[in-house]
């Protein structure tokens, strides 16, 4: 049975897959009886005999809902740009809300792979959810997995799964490469403040190692609980450390509270604040306002980047959603690009898709990147940005680019 059965109506329904798979099953019974053949059976059971099915394993409710939404927006923007098709085929998307819960993430993954017959998984946001999904994806081995956010390096170190491709970043990339830059341009001693959970602790460790390797001194490391509202008690330790610069990992509301209070307590006057890009991003800058000015951070995507590729992307994203794209939207957009590339090379055979993506290059708004041959992690430029006063309030300006970074493989070799 042809995958390009043109009269098949693709549904792009976010909510229910049940309806569309019901239709395709009925169609199968009709056409199967007509043709009298069982050759199509395998394809039809997959529920995707003539369309490509993409499963979103993302949070649409709870604290991370903004991230999930942005990833979907980015993905759909690319599909729309291709006239609603990927590699000339209709796209059907099925969404499952993971919240930030690992159990929900695993059952959503199984459902998308087995019942919806997804050809690609896009998501998740949380690394804990990604870790939990790993076994299921490997067991089913029926789809490629485009990890559009979860950045914990241990997904590579412990999982090393050939279907797993990060269209996002790993946490080494958003911390370590900033260390030599800070040492050369800002200060030779730092104090580190970080949100006290796995991701924050990875960032601390990577930055600390790289900074000392560059010749600098880490004078103190201050863990602060996730979800802290008042950073006041820690300000004394930060100031009292005597360091000339601070490196931080905080995100979301923690980043807003930390940056504004750092400014309000007057620490800006004696110390230069640096951090991972999540500290000062499109979703926190409006709330941080003037307090963010003059602070440096490192990320793989910056919406104000002046390249033609990015300006085009940012413009069409703004037209569709009335806001600037954030890093998550870019990651979703690139997931769609990676999927297209895989399908063009290998149709929907998961092993062939993985083979096609390994080492392949993606023309991203962030600047082109390729998937590492050993780990499938993105090999990409990282941008050092400074927050400056823009026309609509504070915005990030790229002040330096860290190119051709050698990526750790943590002993992983997917081949």
């Amino acid at each position: 049975m042809s995958r390009r059965d043109v009269d098949k109506v693709a549904t792009r329904n976010r909510g229910s897959a049940a309806e569309s798979s019901g239709i395709s099953r009925r169609r199968y019974l009709q056409s199967g009886a007509l043709l009298g053949t069982t050759a199509g059976l395998a394809g039809c059971l997959g529920g995707s005999e003539d369309t490509l099915t993409v499963g979103f394993v993302l949070p649409f409710t709870g604290v991370y809902s903004l991230l999930g939404e942005s990833i979907v927006n980015g993905f759909e923007l690319y599909v729309d740009e291709q006239g609603g098709e990927i590699a000339g085929q209709e796209i059907e998307t099925v969404s499952r809300d993971t919240e930030a819960d690992t159990n929900t993430g695993v059952s959503a993954t199984r459902e998308l792979l087995v019942e919806s017959g997804a050809d690609a998984l896009v998501g998740p946001v949380s690394s804990a959810v990604a870790t939990a999904m790993m076994q299921t994806v490997e067991n089913e081995s029926s789809a490629i997995w485009l990890n559009a956010n979860a950045g914990d390096y241990r997904l590579v170190e412990e999982g090393c799964l050939s279907y797993h491709f990060r269209t996002s970043f790993n946490d080494w990339q958003t911390s370590a490469p900033l260390a030599p830059w800070v040492y050369e341009n800002v200060a030779d001693n730092v104090v580190i403040t970080y949100a006290d959970y796995a991701f924050g602790d990875n960032s601390r460790q990577f930055f600390s190692e790289a900074f000392e390797q560059a010749g600098g001194t880490v004078v103190n490391e201050i863990p602060i609980p996730l979800g802290t509202d008042d950073f006041s008690p820690y300000m004394g330790d930060i100031e009292g450390s005597g360091a000339d610069a601070v490196y931080s990992f905080f995100a979301g509301s923690d980043a807003v509270n930390y940056v504004t209070q750092f400014h309000e307590f007057g620490l800006d006057q004696n110390m230069t604040q640096t951090g991972s890009g999540f500290l000062l991003s499109e979703d926190t800058l409006p709330a941080q306002g003037q307090a963010a000015l003059g602070k440096f951070s490192l990320l793989h995507y910056t919406s104000t980047d002046q390249s033609e590729r990015n300006q085009g992307f940012a413009q069409s994203y703004a037209d569709a959603h009335d806001t600037r794209p954030n890093v998550y939207a870019c990651q979703g957009y690139d997931s769609a690009q990676a999927f297209e590339l895989a399908v063009e090379e290998a149709d929907t055979d998961p092993d062939a898709m993985a083979e096609a993506l390994r080492g392949a290059e993606i023309d991203s708004p962030r600047g082109s990147f390729r998937f590492h041959e050993e780990t499938n992690d993105p090999v990409q430029n990282m941008y050092v940005r400074e927050v400056v006063e823009g026309s609509d309030g504070p915005e990030n300006e790229v002040v330096d680019t860290v190119e051709n970074i050698e990526l750790p493989t943590w002993g992983c070799s997917v081949n």
Binding site: G227, D230, Y234, T260, D283
Partner: protein, 289 residues
Amino acid sequence: MIESLLRATLLGLQLGVTLALVATGLTLIFGMMDVINFAHGALYMFGAYFGLLVADALGSFWLALVIAPLIVGAIGAAIEIFSLRPLYGRNPLYHILLTFGLAIMVQGIVVQVWGARSRRIPAPELLAGSVSVGPVTYPVYWLFVLVLSTVLIAAVWVAIERSDLGILMRASAHDTEMVDALGIDVKTVFTGVFVFGSVLAAVAGVLLGASRSVHPGMGFGVIIEAFVIVVIGGLGSFKGAIYAALLIGLVIAYGALIAPALTDLFIFALMATVLVIKPSGLFGTTEAA
């Protein structure tokens, strides 16, 4: 070290008086109507979000500080009249389920209308920057929150302990039927108390919304602390709520200095200790205030 202690003390006191604003409403509503109001944190969050709305629309923090609590007060009146009132006298479980449902609804509304990203109410220019308090620098705005909350709490104290209205409130809580028999409309008193509690929570929401981020999870965070305060102070006791709020504020601030990861543990350990020594709470009696 002394600087850290002083800074933590200032934060603890400020946190204490703002928590007292939230806990006062909670304890009065419980004391008078026997309603465990899980939606109280949601009203605090509404205060912050309406504050954001007014500050954006009118460009003034001060107007936000006045108008947002009034809006939330009106919402409080609607909640009391249309959903709580029909359930008075029934098993407390009805109120718990109702107000918990309301809290979830408010959270949903906030995410739909304002989105999930963190925001902040811009603090007034007048209160920007920081000043020296002894050996530490402290943000002017945070001192303002400390002073204004203290004044408000003192005013509420005087009103409840000294004014006729306060006597009426305490009497209604003590013996509803007797007050009713004396020809006073207890229903109106109940609505008034609920509105009053809502307004105080909303004031706290606007005040803290300019020093902390405003986000959809903020209501659930504060309600836990507020309940612990009400339990430690003694259910329904206004005086107890004030003392317990200051105590919890200081525990949170000092806890962050000693062992940041264990702050929640300290809070609940304190609650457990108080309940073991004095099962009805610090000022717990069978009557309010």
